[in-house]
């Protein structure tokens, strides 16, 4: 079988020093995205465990797969979690969730936790969409803009390019920064056309890293245009899978002239984390413990 360069690694994480059995409230958030599914488990509002898995063809299975991976080695079972919130585009298809909340609200809430309450502008670059969100100091959404119609500026577009150039997806960013000076961005917006353009650049003798640099710049420019339509405030945070691509992130920062707020957390879990935080708030408000 040929190598699938776009395939990123599934992963899970569990806190080494926290114990859920001592927690009063255990909540979970599950973000079923178009490309990846994340589950986050909070113990008394603190990050306890999470998992990031690939979304399959069926949302309920993908949700279960993600939460199972997050619970791995913890001794937790679904019935011990007090409240589960589903989010993401497959949120209505999470059978064991108590509630579904839109991913816009969850991302803002999650970013507020990850980047601190100073965060005002959030750029979420997901697998099949891209959103610009404005929020207040509580992580409440004030305004947002979204592209979910076109693969340009989304993770899927980057996967297509990684496959075309036979570069593992995790190496795309670092490799694109190997060039001394950025070449002009790939001029086609459409990913299908950008593919042909990349192929003819290779034919002209461009090395892979130069083509990747041109594509990362094009992608950065595309999301910056979206952000500029909604307005960018300095307290700026990036979530989603592409936040891990240094080649795109550094070019966005350069074009905007501001640095994104750094965070110790995995950028991909923002939505699920926000969902779990909503779950905790709902338990506290309604005392709706199971």
């Amino acid at each position: 079988m040929t190598q699938e360069y776009w395939r990123w690694k599934e992963n899970n994480w569990k806190s080494a020093d926290k114990d859920w059995t001592k927690a009063e409230i255990v909540t979970a958030g599950i973000d079923v995205g178009s490309v990846s599914s994340q589950a986050v488990i909070l113990a008394d509002g603190e990050l306890y465990a999470y998992a990031s898995m690939r979304t399959g063809s069926n949302s309920p299975d993908s949700a279960l797969n993600a939460i199972t991976a997050a619970m791995e080695g913890t001794g937790l079972t679904l019935d011990k979690i007090h409240y589960i919130v589903g989010t993401g585009y497959g949120r209505v298809n999470v059978p064991f969730a108590h509630k579904a909340i839109t991913e816009i609200a969850c991302h803002a809430r999650g970013a507020n936790f990850m980047g601190g309450n100073k965060v005002r502008t959030i750029l979420d670059m997901g697998g099949q969409d891209c959103k610009g969100i404005h929020c207040d100091e509580k992580g409440k959404v004030l305004n947002f803009l979204m592209n979910d119609k076109c693969a340009a500026g989304t993770g899927r577009g980057m996967e297509v390019m990684a496959d075309l150039l036979s570069v593992p997806i995790a190496e795309v960013g670092p490799m694109s920064l190997e060039v001394k000076e950025d070449p002009p961005p790939v001029s086609s917006t459409c990913v299908v056309f950008a593919k042909s353009e990349a192929m003819s650049l290779l034919k002209q003798g461009w090395p892979k890293n130069k083509v990747l640099a041109a594509y990362c710049s094009a992608m950065a420019h595309r999301v910056v245009t979206l952000l500029e339509r909604i307005g960018v405030e300095k307290e700026f945070f990036i979530t989603g899978g592409i936040a891990k691509n240094i080649g795109v992130v550094s070019r966005i920062e350069k074009e905007l002239g501001i640095k994104a707020i750094k965070s110790e957390y995995d950028s991909q879990i923002a939505g699920a984390l926000g969902a779990a935080l909503f779950g905790k708030a709902l338990v506290e408000k309604g005392g709706k413990k199971k």
């Binding site: 063809s57 099949q128 119609k149 076109c150 693969a151 899927r156 577009g157 297509v160 086609s188 917006t189 459409c190 990913v191 299908v192 056309f193 042909s196 192929m199 003819s200 034919k203």
Partner: protein, 257 residues
Amino acid sequence: MFNVGIDVGAKTIKVVILRDGQPFAQYKGLAGMDTAESVEQAYTEALKEAGISRDQVKRVVSTGVGRKEVPFSDEEVTEVGADSKGIIFVMPNCRTCIDVGAEEGRAIRCDDGGKVRDFAVNEKCAAGAGSFVESMSRALELKLHEMGELSLKATRTVPMNAQCAVFAESEVVSLIHSDTTKEDIARSVHDAIASRIISMVRRVGIEPEIALIGGVSHNVGFVECLERGLETKVTIPDNAEFIGALGAALLAYEGSK
């Protein structure tokens, strides 16, 4: 006197040779990675097949996305200008011309002299061009030319949610998994591209007669979906793919008089 029009498209290069203003020969070659090289090759072949030499050609006009890469051209014209000139020559009563190529789609409203009155172009997005159908045929593991016939055999309408060709590919794969027939998927693909072309045509306004030209006019499945969506018949002239090159050649002829 010979004149040449050369239409350098995203996928193919079309050459039309006129003798005293009347069509004399035509040739179609593939546009490879190196456009200039493919152009040279297509031109040489075209002249060879027509049995004439380079210095017998008085004037060359180029059009198409690669029109700037024709070193021997005397003038460059836009696709819209060439299309309207060419279509009026073969279909004098045409007022709306729809041109769907591999990577572009356009709708042109023209007057009886072949002058452009209004036009709309999509060159940014594969969803409204031939490459959309090509990507989907790959996902369906079909040859491109099989798509049209299959689509005519569809028994039901399956909506396509994705707009983007990249996302639509995943959608086609999940339709296959949910046991939708290839026939129904093919029609869904053609309906999707047709709806995009139709919205462009409505922007410029529909006035009969309506012509459909460009490579995608060979796809009978697309034509059926387009006509159903427009609620009217469209005319596909002979050599529908060569209309742009013909228009360029006619402009070359006018320029050399």
